[in-house]
């Protein structure tokens, strides 16, 4: 996923912006793309951790 090209990322941000009704324009598109690329990197890192199929989510969390 981190291999996504700059052009594909630009299209993704533009399309998602339209789908979600979020303001993407010349003033912020490249910044949003940069933040999303960092998120991709983080997601790749988390996603490669081997979890069992039975893993439970911590969505409702208690320490």
């Amino acid at each position: 996923m981190t291999d996504i090209s700059d052009e594909d990322l630009k299209v993704l941000v533009e399309t998602m912006g339209k789908a979600l009704g979020l303001p993407i324009g010349d003033d912020n598109a490249s910044i949003v793309e940069a933040h999303l690329r960092v998120a991709f990197k983080m997601a790749d890192f988390v996603g490669t951790f081997p979890l069992s199929d039975e893993s439970e989510s911590a969505t409702v969390f208690s320490a």
Partner: protein
């Protein structure tokens, strides 16, 4: 009066007010004068409640004159990050948009708990917009500055909470900590800061950021002041559904228990790489003062930080989505575009992050079978200059704003209690903090360690010398 009520610690002031050696009004007037003199430059407060504070002070003095018992925090001044509800004020949460909100009619739960012990609310404090910040900077209200060197950051997002206490403009402050926002300003401003166990203190009456990570807690100039305020704030609140159903567990009576029986280790691996030498020297200083050379390692901490990053940006985006559609131009630009990116993160990534979170929590709990206390840097560096965008850590250039919390995020990710303790190095103008981390619900262990460090002089939190 044998001491200056501005320079004295909270517990000393409370004792003086209870004994009649000092009036609550004198305490408040001294603080209001200091705020009037210095806050225009430091930017800690967004609202000063002069009349309310004086009325409350007079009420406390009248109680004492009648012979009524006074609370544990009698005459102690405090202020709160402006994401706490305060009667008569809109809850800004550092934003321009929330300034249009209707003023609140009641105080947040924790504010009421402190006032019930006769602490006096001085006002609301500046913060990074919507708590998505580690710097203490704010495009709408200006930066909260570091009192020990105003050209440098206070740290965030509870920036005003750090500035106010370090500047002697309040004895205590309350902050919130989602990914490090109590521990970072504690580190940069040289304070003791407590992030309790997730679910311990009610968040009722506070503006959220990332509900599954949000904690509230105090910043102070001594471990005893943290303990007294923490004890006062415990208690059940039906308005926070995530508050743990546990009885109050007072810690101030345990504070002088010493280090006997505590197994203390410095964290290696992730927590011992990628920071400045200052950060590691601070951990070594604390370990030496505690007489320990034991080491421990939390596996997969880097991945925990990555998972926290993903959950933060998506939960934050979810909270702000509607407002981003209609008021995007009114956001701090540094905050807005991260939230917009967070709205585009696929749900499967967040699910993976939440599943990893449970695995990681279980692994860290195993570590606490062999140790009671873990030490790690609070921040990878001393406070950067205000406006600084990039920093170099371990030879790598990286953005300041996103990376100040690299050592705090893997800990709050699983809700562990932490006291950040301040370390001063000879010749350095700015302090740096060390995290004292314990197992869930063992705030007493962290505070005992902090007290031992304060008693030995290894850690201290002086009021800044202001011009």
């Amino acid at each position: 009066m044998s001491f200056d009520p501005v320079l004295a610690e909270a517990h000393e002031v409370a004792a003086a007010v209870r004994s009649g050696a000092l009036s609550a009004r004198a305490v408040v007037e001294a603080h209001l004068a200091r705020i009037a003199k210095h806050d225009a430059k430091l930017g800690a407060y967004t609202a000063v409640l002069k009349d309310r504070a004086l009325v409350q002070a007079d009420g406390i003095d009248a109680k004492r004159a009648r012979g009524d018992a006074l609370g544990e925090l009698a005459g102690v001044t405090f202020a709160v990050k402006n994401l706490f509800d305060v009667a008569g004020l809109p809850t800004l949460a550092g934003s321009k948009i929330n300034a249009e909100h209707v003023p609140k009619t009641t105080d947040a739960f924790l504010v009421r708990q402190l006032i019930a012990q006769d602490a006096i609310l001085l006002g609301a404090l500046n913060m990074g917009e919507y708590a998505y910040d580690f710097t203490g900077e704010n495009q709408h209200y200006g930066p909260s500055r570091n009192p020990h060197d105003p050209d440098h950051m206070s740290g965030g997002s509870s920036g005003g909470s750090g500035t106010s206490v370090a500047a002697g403009m309040a004895h205590l402050s309350l902050g919130s900590d989602t990914n490090g926002s109590i521990r970072v300003p504690s580190s940069f401003c040289g304070l003791f800061g407590l992030k309790p166990t997730y679910g311990r203190l009610s968040r009722g009456g506070s503006y959220p950021f990332v509900a599954s990570f949000d904690h509230l807690g105090p910043l102070a100039r001594s471990p005893m002041d943290l303990a007294l305020s923490y004890d006062a704030m415990q208690g059940a609140d039906p308005h926070d559904p995530m508050q743990a159903k546990r009885p109050a567990s007072p810690v101030s009576v345990l504070l002088h228990g010493g280090l006997a029986g505590l197994r203390i280790a410095s964290l290696q691996g992730y927590f011992a790489t990628g920071a400045t030498a200052d950060a590691y020297a601070a951990v070594a200083h604390v370990a030496e003062a505690l007489g320990t050379d034991r080491k421990a390692e939390i596996l997969e901490a880097a991945r925990a930080r990555a998972a926290a990053y993903l959950i933060t940006m998506t939960e934050g985006a979810s909270l702000h989505l509607d407002q981003l559609r209609t008021r995007a131009g009114d956001y701090d630009l540094d905050v807005r575009d991260r939230l917009i990116a967070g709205a585009m993160v696929p749900g499967i990534w967040v699910d993976r992050a939440q599943k990893f979170r449970r695995w990681y929590r279980d692994e860290v709990m195993k570590l606490f079978q062999d140790v009671d206390v873990l030490l790690a840097p609070s921040t990878p560096l001393r406070a950067p200059r205000i406006g600084q965008k990039m920093m170099t850590l371990d030879g790598v250039d990286m953005p300041v704003r996103a990376n100040i919390g690299i050592f705090t995020q893997p800990i709050s990710f699983i809700g562990l209690p932490v006291v950040s303790v301040p370390v001063w190095t000879k010749g350095e103008r700015l302090p740096i903090g060390v995290q004292v981390i314990t197992a869930p619900w063992r705030e007493d262990h962290a505070l005992r360690v902090a007290q031992a460090l304060a008693t030995s002089g290894a850690c201290r939190a002086p009021v800044a010398a202001l011009d």
